[in-house]
Amino acid sequence: MLVEINVNGEPKSADVPPETTLLKMLREDLGLTGAKLGCDVGDCGTCTVIVDGVSVNSCLMMAARANGSNVTTIEGLANANELHPLQEKFEEHGALQCGFCGPGMLISAKSLLDRNPEPTVFEVRDALAGNLCRCTGYTKIIEAVMDAGREMRSGQSGA
């Protein structure tokens, strides 16, 4: 079946079997391999993308259900000229180690900061609880999200 979605601001479509998940469509049909398959049942969060403003496990969402939606993947965070503040801060803090959880983690963090620009540490922990990480103990990831939030707020007030 034909599925049309708007990915990172660009209209995309693919003719996929009806049983295709959004994750499979993104990775195999649209070549966007940033979102990962880590458990295939919604436990690990490596497949996290934003659909119509909210973060979801793309391994649990059927591609057909996303038809007509706006989807943001990790590939849509930076532009040709600059990194997203979260990407900048994750890099600066050495927040990621093996990096496999990274795309999902960053998308969850973006989704949080989009809704709550000034989160508490607990709110950050709560927002990232669906993204498992085995390397970092989450510490530097949480610091990087807090720091990116500060930077985004100061950027806005300065504008």
Partner: protein
């Protein structure tokens, strides 16, 4: 009622394999613009090994980290390495890199010595220059030394070397011997809260102070420690593969309970000031030991909080409550 408790645990841990040879080899090439390429057979598995190894090569050559490009993980291209195992990369591969980079540097010293009118052993590589020891004003850029060596003398600056930690076989009867060349040490202290009605343990904070010799990159060492502690917390409280007739019954991340961001305590990390003369620039290693003392510290904190000694891991809430009830019953049964 929630009961607070504190517990500590210390540990020691070796670097490299037990007696068995575990060599690494490395090749360092200096380019004519003063940048360099490092070839290593190890693989980046997330710990930041390639960053640290690049820093070691850069330090030996007097360059910045970014000046060294690290090529790894291809048996057609890169030299022998025992691999990302046994907390050995910084120490063993790092020592091989120091030796390889020194060979390349020696070629540059030979080329620069006549230009600076000194002997090669009077030179050092610092701040991207080859300079006379103690006379920074008497120096040439590394790039110039490479160009001269390669373009005029026909001697490209390249070095290959290997390292294997020296050990002594253990006696088969008594185990006496020298199985490792060096060890690291650490202490972790846990602050916990135990709900004595449900047995639930919440780890509030862990202070971890580790020795890794010289931290080549303190930020990455902190990352190792924080990550190791999260594995330790899971080992202590939650994680267990369960079997029924030899079949795993929880082989998934729904029922195999590893820590999420909400389950991790606040962490405070400290590094001991230490220098191991046998390691690259005094460094030892940091990977595995970070996960070693966490469970023990948490069990001691549980004991401090509610007076029960947990003897089998993980200390699930059910197991902790069982121990609390057993203790209460024993106290009741005991003559006053």
């Amino acid at each position: 009622m929630k009961q607070r408790g504190r517990g500590m645990a210390c540990m020691w841990y070796p670097i490299g394999f037990t007696v068995a040879a575990n060599p690494s080899a490395a090749t360092v090439k200096v380019n004519t613009d003063g940048t360099a390429t490092l070839l290593t057979g190890t693989v980046e598995t997330g710990q930041g090994a390639l960053t640290v190894l690049g820093q070691i090569a850069a330090e030996t050559l007097g360059l910045a980290t970014d000046d060294v490009h690290v090529v790894s993980g291809d048996t057609d291209v890169t030299p022998m390495d025992t691999g990302a195992i046994a907390s050995r990369t910084t120490y063993v591969t790092g020592n091989a890199i120091v030796r390889a980079a020194e060979k390349a540097r020696e070629i540059l010293f030979e080329a620069a010595a006549p230009l600076l009118k000194v002997k090669p052993d009077q030179l050092e590589a610092r701040d991207k220059r080859i300079q006379v020891l103690g006379f920074p004003s008497s120096s040439i850029p590394i790039a110039e030394a490479v160009q001269h060596s390669e373009g005029v003398l026909g001697n490209p600056a390249i070095g290959s070397a290997s390292y294997n930690p020296p050990t002594v076989e253990m006696d088969p009867e008594t185990g006496q011997g020298k199985p490792f060349n060096t060890y690291v040490y650490a202490t972790q202290i846990a602050d916990v809260e135990v709900d004595d009605e449900t047995g639930e343990v919440e780890v509030l904070k862990i202070v971890a102070v580790h020795d890794c010799g010289t931290p080549i990159n303190p930020m990455l060492v902190e990352g190792q420690i924080q990550g190791g502690i999260s594995m330790g917390v899971g080992f202590a409280l939650q994680e267990e593969i369960l079997f029924e007739e030899g079949r795993q019954i929880n082989p998934n991340l729904t029922n195999y309970i590893m820590p999420t961001s909400l389950d991790m305590p606040e962490l405070e990390v400290g590094l001991v000031d230490n220098y191991d003369p046998t390691g690259p620039f005094g460094a030892k290693g940091a990977g595995e030991p970070t996960a070693v003392p966490t469970a023990a510290a948490i069990m001691n904190a549980i004991h401090d909080a509610v007076g029960v000694r947990i003897t089998a891991l993980p200390a699930t809430a059910e197991r902790v409550l069982g121990a609390i009830i057993e203790k209460q019953e024993a106290e009741r049964a005991a003559p006053q």
